[in-house]
């Protein structure tokens, strides 16, 4: 089918691989991306929970931020770059150990969430003063413009979104990965290692967006393309599209930026207060600290919760939530969870209704459908701690 909206779309270096595997391609974050393969969303989802799923996430925003006056210089250099970044995020970046990564949020002056991102401290004295950062694809240009504005004359941004960024997720991911990157099986969740591959350096991180154990790899196309092609010949590995990526992350209770969080929500409402470590709370020196710490102390007006519809009808994003006929919240992500074999959703409700077990109504096509607030995730996380 021809689609006029695909004309200005970018393609990732793995585009031909998607086509070869029969992907159905859709516009997503400015790219032509695979939404599903012939296997179908449900089976792709289940495959990832049982075997290993390979996701092209090259549309995302990997980048490096390095001190303007050069990297190297050990802890002191790390402290300098961390202090810069901490003006925009509420997490303890200075306290990261070499090789460690942290999920955090980019905040506006009111403490609203501009994006969620992963910040990694590199390994080795010579690399200190630099950070590896991955932001969301849909907002990468805005995020990077903010970095450049904020760190002008102090740090240099190097985009890495011309490379391949792919994820291998699922219980078999570690066995497959260790064939290609011996030693990566030793990595713990939210840690990374650099590797040499075909004479080019790449970054292997143990993290993901499915709730399963898994890895993300940033690699230049000339080395990454043959790597991905070879991995896909492994019978444990199947390519997985955006459709299953969404149902996997929803079952895992993970937020999707622009849906489950946006500039109108602060990290406390979004149930992400845990990204603000104690040292930052005490210093209260991040954007919107007053609002955020007040919400943390007194409780926010609304809170993000898991929602389990009690009937078979899924409740999609935008579904109004009511109690006794009164509006009390809204669904921000909703669909069907193939692993729980039941509809799943998350959304925001008034804080007094955020307790698991609370009965709510979901207004699906004008009808009140019974549902229950539940604790997240819907499926247990399988991270390698």
């Amino acid at each position: 089918m021809s689609d006029p909206t695909t004309e200005n779309l970018k393609r990732t270096p793995l585009y031909d691989v998607h086509v070869e595997h029969g992907a159905k391609l859709v516009p997503f974050a400015g790219y032509e991306m695979p939404v599903q393969y012939p296997m179908g969303v449900k089976d792709e989802h289940l495959w990832t929970r049982e075997q290993a799923g390979l996701f092209d996430v090259s549309h995302m925003g990997p980048c490096f931020l390095s001190l303007e006056d050069g990297i190297g210089g050990g802890d002191e250099a790390h402290a300098k770059i961390a202090a810069l970044v901490e003006t925009l995020v509420p997490s303890d970046i200075a306290g990261l150990k070499e090789g460690q990564a942290r999920l955090t949020v980019l905040l506006n002056e009111d403490g609203g969430i501009l994006d969620d991102l992963i910040i990694t401290r590199p390994i080795g004295e010579a690399a200190q003063g630099s950070l590896y950062i991955v932001v969301n694809g849909a907002v990468k240009d805005a995020d990077w413009a903010l970095f450049e504005r904020s760190f002008q004359g102090k740090a240099v941004l190097t985009r890495a979104d011309d490379r391949i960024l792919f994820a291998l997720q699922g219980p078999k991911a570690v066995d497959v990965m260790s064939d290609f990157f011996p030693g990566c099986e030793e990595l713990k969740f939210m840690h990374h290692m650099p590797f040499e591959l075909s004479g080019t350096s790449c970054i292997v991180s143990r993290c993901g967006y499915t709730g399963e154990d898994g890895f993300e790899v940033l690699v230049k196309p000339e080395a990454g393309l043959p790597l991905v092609k070879e991995m896909l010949t492994d019978e444990r590995v199947k390519p997985i599209g955006l459709g299953a990526r969404d149902s996997l992350r929803l079952e895992a209770g993970l937020c999707l930026y622009g849906h489950d969080m946006d500039p109108t929500r602060d990290p406390v409402e979004a149930d992400l207060a845990w990204v603000i470590q104690k040292v930052r709370r005490e210093r209260a020196d991040f954007p919107g600290a007053e609002r955020i710490l007040k919400a943390r102390a007194e409780g926010p007006a609304e809170k993000r919760v898991g929602i389990r519809p009690l009937e078979r009808a899924p409740a999609r994003e935008g579904t109004m939530i009511e109690v006794d006929g009164q509006p009390v919240g809204i669904v921000t992500s909703g669909g069907f969870g193939p692993s729980v074999d039941h509809p799943v959703a998350m959304g925001y409700v008034r804080s007094d209704l955020a307790e698991p077990g609370t009965k709510i109504d979901l207004m699906v096509r004008g009808k009140a459908r019974p549902a229950e607030v539940v604790s997240l995730p819907f499926v247990p996380h399988n991270y390698k701690r």
């Binding site: 089918m1 939404v35 179908g40 969303v41 459709g243 009808a313 899924p314 999609r316 069907f336 096509r365």
Partner: protein
């Protein structure tokens, strides 16, 4: 006007099939439609007795990905719905033309049938997509 004393199947551009038999029409979605939607996890059927004009939202099909409306292919009154779909919505994927039917309409205006495509016309329509 033609009277369909033998069941005869027609199609819409929205990928529904309509099997006409006397003054009743059984309605479902085609293989093309169920294949495009992917794994169907929920079907919301109309109430028996509900009346629809041509093109009204009549049912909703939910796949893992999204919800899609199913329109009334012709005007009519619902006289029966397929109860199997409540517990086994995947029947629509497995047997779109047989066990996965949605509902039976009492045809309001038999002349509307002439505006639908026959098997050959629908096949050509799909090939042009």
């Amino acid at each position: 006007m033609t009277r369909y004393t033998q069941p005869t199947t027609f199609y819409t551009k929205e990928h529904e099939w309509v099997t006409v038999h006397n003054d009743l029409a059984t309605v479902g979605i085609t293989h093309y439609a169920e294949n495009q939607l992917g794994d169907i996890v929920f079907v919301e059927l109309p109430d028996v007795g509900a009346e629809f004009a041509t093109g009204d939202d009549m049912a909703v099909v939910e796949s893992v990905k999204a919800a899609s409306d199913v329109y009334a292919p012709i005007a009519g009154k619902v006289v029966e719905v397929n109860a199997v779909l409540a517990d086994k919505p995947e029947t629509v994927n497995e047997s779109p033309r047989e066990k996965g039917w949605f509902c039976v309409l009492e045809i309001k205006d038999g002349a509307e049938i002439a505006s639908l495509m026959d098997e050959e016309a629908y096949k050509a329509f799909c090939e042009g997509l």
